[in-house]
């Protein structure tokens, strides 16, 4: 399996993640889809690191995992705050700013 094929798999993960963020209404699944976007980017970093025999891509993947951990912490905090106010995890219910 060549590197371009792996990069294509990364693209696919990225696009599926974006679709999940745009289309799903459950906030938990939106967060999981964001993790999918991170995973696609990380796969591409590692694939290009392998292609060029350069470790910077792997270091960036480590940073990416740290950022994903921070995103998970803040996202779950938001989820619990939303649930406390609205008693739902449906993102369509949080529409106060819509006026």
């Amino acid at each position: 399996m060549s590197i371009p094929a792996l990069v294509l798999v990364g693209f696919l993960l990225f696009c599926l993640g974006i679709f999940g963020v745009l289309a799903r209404r459950n906030f938990i699944v939106v967060l999981l889809s964001i993790e999918l976007i991170f995973a696609g980017a990380g796969l591409n970093f590692v694939a290009f690191s392998n292609l060029w025999q350069n470790l910077t891509g792997q270091v960036f993947t480590v940073f990416l995992i740290a950022v994903a951990a921070g995103e998970a912490a803040v996202g779950l905090g938001l989820l619990i705050a939303l649930y406390r106010v609205k008693h739902t995890a449906n993102v369509d219910e949080a529409r106060e700013l819509k006026g």
Binding site: P4, L32, L79
Partner: protein
């Protein structure tokens, strides 16, 4: 090895589809967990042993458990019975398909696809030009550490501050009375 990696990629993509289209968030989370484990195996095959270990420890072990706790705190039956997708799902699908096709087009016409089949993914053959002898698995961690604590020391410290702020922020948001 190629068959193995294609199989692995198929499993990962199937798990990603499971995340996006599963009805229950628990199913989505467990599907994502399996996908992350598959991704870790793919990283191992790509000779990124340290990243694979971090992927299993932090992602599969830490973040997914956090998500499962979040689901258990929040999930209810009513949520599963309502419609799962927005009215904007079809425009989003078209948009994402266009994005994917555009990125695939750019990849196809880039320099990486120019060589027949690109370079092989597994580094056992590519190592020959990079280093005289194939690097053992333990060497990857040492080399990653040299780059991480050398060139990327300040970003590393910034990442630690980011994590601290994110965790404090998460606790603050989830606290009873804000």
């Amino acid at each position: 090895m190629t068959v193995f990696m294609i199989l692995l990629a198929a499993v990962i993509v199937a798990c990603a589809l499971g995340v996006v289209f599963a009805r229950s968030p628990i199913t989505a989370a467990v599907s994502l967990l399996v996908g992350f484990l598959g991704l870790a195996v793919l990283y191992l095959a790509l000779r990124a042993e340290f990243v694979a270990a971090v992927q299993v420890l932090v992602y599969a072990g830490g973040i997914m458990v956090l998500y499962l706790f979040g689901i258990m705190l929040v999930d209810n039956q009513v949520l599963r019975l309502t419609r799962q997708v927005h009215f904007q799902a079809w425009p989003a699908f078209v948009l994402v398909l266009a994005l994917f096709l555009w990125m695939g087009h750019r990849l196809y016409h880039s320099e990486y696809a120019a060589s027949p089949g690109g370079r092989p993914a597994v580094a056992a053959t590519a190592d020959a030009e990079a280093s005289p002898q194939p690097a053992p698995a333990a060497d990857n961690t040492r080399r990653v550490a040299k780059v991480l604590y050398g060139d990327f020391l300040y970003p590393f410290e910034a990442a630690s501050i980011l994590l601290l702020v994110a965790v404090v922020g998460g606790v603050f948001l989830a606290k009873k009375e804000v």
